[in-house]
Symmetry: C2
Amino acid sequence: MLADDHLGRARERLDDPLPESYFKAFEAVDRDPNFKLVVAETAEGRVVGCLQLCIMPGMSSQGTSRGLIEDVRVATDCRSRGIGEQLVQWAVGEARSRGCKVVELLTHSSRVDAQRFYKRLGFSPSHVGMTVRF
Amino acid sequence: MLADDHLGRARERLDDPLPESYFKAFEAVDRDPNFKLVVAETAEGRVVGCLQLCIMPGMSSQGTSRGLIEDVRVATDCRSRGIGEQLVQWAVGEARSRGCKVVELLTHSSRVDAQRFYKRLGFSPSHVGMTVRF
């Protein structure tokens, strides 16, 4: 799913076996309770969606944590069924239950559909998301 | 410094002693090696700037980590001396040395000066930063 997307296609490597770096990343996410990688599964156990939630403790806003949602993906043939919505609403609820007062995400300027989707779920395009790549 | 800002003024509480929530947040940041709170000090030991860096392991881009910069602040009377620049460049270098291929940040759409500042340091306004507050 990470590769099945106009930006992801160039960035991922779907060799068999997968590059070791994916397994190392999974262990790093799994090890830290502030990071959660969640997946959506069909009744048959097929993984059809995923997202990553980071709970970031921080000093501002009287020391309240922030939630950050990253890498939201839904399998191409399973879109428009509310799977992404369920994943994002789970993440927002989880962040809230862990004391976050805000949940943030960056979505590429070219992902116009994604921006509409997040607006529908209550997100506001309040910030500019700035990035530097090496 | 967190309160000395048009958005922060309404969000912080500078009682003496400070609310317990600030101390708890500091401990949570301090406990997790994926979060770094750094400060800039004058030769006399006065804290005149701060930022928080989060190193987020993740599955996308072949399992490379991302850096996220939050809460960049410089004391009002110490601005335009390159302190913010030194802090941000430290954070970008640190993220890079820890294997990140991208460093992200959200800056409020109203912070036009901040956007110019980050562009000067190599950041691109490639994303929309979306937030939901409770």
